[in-house]
Symmetry: C2
Subunit: 339 residues, 2 copies
Amino acid sequence: MDKRIGARTVRLSCPPAVLGFAAVGGRMEGAGPLGDFFDEIGEDHFWGQKTWEQGESTMQRHALNKALEKATLREGDLDYVLAGDLLNQCIGSSFALRGSGAPFYGLYGACSTMGEALSLAALLIDGGFARRAAALTSSHFCTAERQYRAPVPYGSQRAPTAQWTATAAGCCILGAEGDGPYVTHVTAGKIVDLGIDDANNMGAAMAPAAYDTLSAVLRDTHTLPKDYDLIVTGDLGKLGHDIVVDFFARDGIDIAPQYDDCALLLFDRAEQDMHCGGSGCGCSAAVLCAHLLRGMREKHWNRVLFAPTGALLSPTSTAQGESIPGICHAVILSNTREG
Amino acid sequence: MDKRIGARTVRLSCPPAVLGFAAVGGRMEGAGPLGDFFDEIGEDHFWGQKTWEQGESTMQRHALNKALEKATLREGDLDYVLAGDLLNQCIGSSFALRGSGAPFYGLYGACSTMGEALSLAALLIDGGFARRAAALTSSHFCTAERQYRAPVPYGSQRAPTAQWTATAAGCCILGAEGDGPYVTHVTAGKIVDLGIDDANNMGAAMAPAAYDTLSAVLRDTHTLPKDYDLIVTGDLGKLGHDIVVDFFARDGIDIAPQYDDCALLLFDRAEQDMHCGGSGCGCSAAVLCAHLLRGMREKHWNRVLFAPTGALLSPTSTAQGESIPGICHAVILSNTREG
């Protein structure tokens, strides 16, 4: 049976249900507008470990444990864990899952990783290959700064278009049975690169990929922005968000009333001075797990188009003068299996 | 319908067929025992580009193009490309696919990536989410050396247990219809870490994961080594290979007659002085595409258990004194859909 509709979208025949979800964050995330809705806020950037990298793995582990607990599941109930992060060789995830007995597929989608993990988890369940699967990801301001930019103690000045890497992890467990919300559709991203080569302006680099994937969703499902209660990209930030609105305006589509971005939801830009907003795999994961899924369970929204974006660059590619390829993976979440 | 058999293995209900495959390699790989069977050997380590990293992306692109050509397909015929590599943030793959219109899921499984990509491609097709999907990966001696160890011009001495990162890329395209070989079973890896912390001895670090996954395959499918014409891990090298044989011997199972390893197949260790053998995502990918699939089409082997292994370390984790988590993803390839 072919479950594809249109060119890029899969309509799941038996939409997997969200069984449990959890968000874990750092001090800054706790001080932001979603602070009250995190399952755990850590005041210690090391999370009791010796290094920030170990701290990041610990955050992922806590997010997984909390999500399992909230779903009243044990780790042995998971048929797959799909996880990734921003660290070189994705050690945030590998070391978080080192002691785990769960089958593991490692992913790399930069800040789109939660979208990719949720997509593949939903597909594996709908395909009959799993009863339950976890989507898991993280980022950490201090590990990301020293890897991508400069060691934190240097106190480097940030560009106005820069975004702030979230110290956060999120985990969402899907299952074949359950009360929802449900993942009803999955749209895979394509790599889009319009030539932006400023690594301090990731919003502009990723916006074309977000526009490409959101357009594919609307086209494949024959929907309009007004058919969703919320359309959320991540993490385009202020500039990238406005570019997406502008791109759709050229198509005669006003996306603004439904449209928001994880980078703008996680922090209070006015109060917290995050420049263009948040970023990092943990940003969209935390917004999903502390805000969107909770709001759906509370019926604030019944149908959400969740579309995290990733910038597929590395410090090496930037040093070699390359432009920044972007990607955006989307899922439709709905409070009913019918979508 | 639940397609899982045993604890970790999926039996595909309509085993996807191999439509096309290609291997591309460097000079050393061309001089090895499989040299004649590569689709392209590049004498230039830069592959006509300015940097080794761009060269690696070019190799991946060539492998994809050759595999498409051999399958008489165009890139637009692919519903998904699943790809990854060893470079920080997987830029080998992202930049190879930058100009592609194909939906893309980025993976990180270190040297097990070909196993992971092939697994997910098969699952996506069997689930009804794709008609055709490509599994693609690469490694490059020069990009890996400078990233993981020391810049190549330093000429650092190598440990006796060290392996040689292959300069190679492989691509295998699967489809819902076709003449085979077929992917009949998929077994996902778990992260196994028995505490080896010597980054120059990856074979020992990964062998326990290979043993764990191969044991799961045999247990879940109720088979013995003699039920396969060939069991091939990658890239454990000489030492890791012998550890796996030893582990199975303790279970009273003689795996040696059927068992080989990609690290030992790619190079002539005696003539080419590769110490413990080859390594890198490109090693098992090239052995699959230049040797195993060709041999299956020529009926040298009818049933092959292909189980690439990965060491999920990074230079950062090694510097922080961490041990090396290993993983092994397995697929069963068969010349008949019945397996």
